[in-house]
């Protein structure tokens, strides 16, 4: 800031700062991209495992290592892609080979199975939809009977921390375990109630979970997209239930 400079100098200086900064940032972004993508992929796998009820934390509450996640995923999880129209599995297609657009449009449906002793023990589907402020992403796992929930995770959202953001907390997700989505030959309308299930349905309701206080609209969004996404898979699930 020694002497006043001309406008040409000011513009020249601004331009060179911009170029230097953008070069630095592009270089960083491209160097770290593969590692970041690996982390996102690991996080996705971790959440599928969590939905299936696999322990993803050790006794000290630390997350298990990436290699361990890959190993469990490799050993137990199989991926299937369904055709949205017919509900039939498409041979030879992996979830990585399906574009997000096809999944969003519902023409291709990714499905994960958890296999134990050569048999399918659980199924998991990706669920996502609008909460109050943002799109919430998660996985919903069903038991072998395709009637009760094995587990649920919500891992990506932009809801208010402490209110709608509680969807990512264990206390909320644990409530889903064991709830029914199917009974008497029909899909049951699943519901995240306002308040507690005990208050809302004194006679009991096995296809509803307690809501989050202060986040009624987030709960309504979750209710909506869980039912909508289960509907999409119903063609395939009804085939399995029959066999």
């Amino acid at each position: 800031m020694s002497t006043p400079k001309g406008d040409g100098y000011v513009i020249g200086f601004a331009v060179s700062i911009c170029i230097a900064c953008s070069l630095l940032l592009s270089a960083t972004a491209s160097t770290l991209k593969s590692r970041q993508e690996y982390n996102v992929e690991l996080d996705r796998k971790m959440n599928i495992l969590k939905a299936f009820g696999v322990q993803t934390r050790d006794e000290r509450g630390r997350a298990i290592s990436g290699a361990e996640v890959d190993r469990i995923f490799e050993q137990y999880i199989r991926e299937i892609v369904l055709d949205g129209e017919t509900g039939q599995p498409i041979e030879g297609l992996t979830i990585a080979g399906v574009s997000p657009r096809e999944i969003a449009a519902g023409t291709r449906l990714p499905l994960y199975t958890f296999e134990q002793d050569g048999e399918i023990a659980k199924y998991a589907i990706p669920i996502s939809g609008k909460g109050l402020w943002s799109t919430i992403y998660g996985y919903l796992a069903l038991n072998r009977d395709l009637a009760t929930i094995a587990g649920v995770t919500f891992y990506k959202h932009g809801e208010t921390p402490g209110l709608g953001g509680e969807v990512e907390k264990d206390w909320f997700q644990n409530n889903f375990r064991g709830k029914r989505i199917w009974g008497d030959g029909n899909l049951l309308p699943f519901e995240v109630v306002k308040g507690t299930v005990a208050d809302r349905y004194p006679q009991g309701n096995d296809h509803a979970v307690d809501g989050i206080s202060g986040a009624t609209l987030t709960g309504r969004g979750v209710t909506q997209f869980i039912n909508r996404d289960l509907e999409k898979y119903e063609k395939y699930f009804s085939l399995i239930r029959r066999s």
Binding site: M1, S2, P4, K5, Y9, V10, F13, A14, I17, C18, C21, L24, L25, T28, A29, L32, R35, Q36, N39, V40, L42, D43, R60, G61, R62, A63, G162
Partner: protein
């Protein structure tokens, strides 16, 4: 001279602490202090950003046109912050998710811009770097102290290690923003009592 340099680093740790004395950077001090882990990562990020931003700005201090100096400082700071955010996303993904927007918000942290304006623009690179480092460490000390109180009372753990007896019922208030206000307020009071700094109304 050596004594003066040392003072640049140690002054912001206590006598001129950016949080407890100048009451800057409160927003992130409240937001990321529910656990010690997140507080440590946030502290390292901020300290690195403010030190290197001060160094870079000080190196360019005779070239930066006065008319656009704030814009230039912001460009330097935001580039460093994005750089730090990218590193966190690549290497400590879990913590970077918990910190969410707050790493990005280092850009708007008054401590950073304050040190650049008040010190780095008028001093040589060496002292400027140390001034940034000192202020970063002063911020870190407070952040980690608040996080320790909140994690111990709120979860019964410190850095994930169980401290309280097994049946300890965590104090939920400590995990919410008001808990942070209480801790920070007590800390500011204690600090000012110790160094005998009183503001006259």
């Amino acid at each position: 001279m050596a004594g003066k340099l040392k003072k640049i680093v140690t002054d912001p740790l206590s006598d001129n602490n950016p949080i407890t004395i100048q009451v800057l950077g409160i927003c992130s001090a409240l937001a990321v202090t529910t656990k010690v882990d997140t507080a440590i990562v946030m502290s390292i990020s901020l300290t690195a950003v403010v030190s290197f931003a001060a160094l870079i700005v000080s190196l360019m201090r005779n070239m930066i046109p006065g008319k656009i100096r704030i814009i230039v400082q912001l460009a330097v700071v935001s580039s460093l912050v994005i750089f730090a955010d990218q590193l966190l996303k690549a290497y400590v993904f879990d913590i970077s998710r918990q910190l969410s927007v707050f790493v990005g918000l280092i850009i708007t942290n008054c401590i950073v811009l304050g040190r650049l304006e008040a010190f780095a623009l008028g001093n040589k690179p060496g002292p400027a770097f140390l001034d940034g480092l000192g202020n970063g460490l002063g911020y870190s000390a407070v952040l980690i102290a608040v996080a320790s109180m909140r994690e111990i009372l709120g979860f019964g753990t410190w850095h994930g290690i169980q401290l309280m007896p097994a049946g300890y019922q965590g104090n939920g208030l400590m995990l919410l923003a008001p808990g942070a206000f209480f801790c920070l307020g007590l800390l500011i009071w204690a600090q000012r009592q110790i160094i005998k700094k009183f503001e006259t109304a």
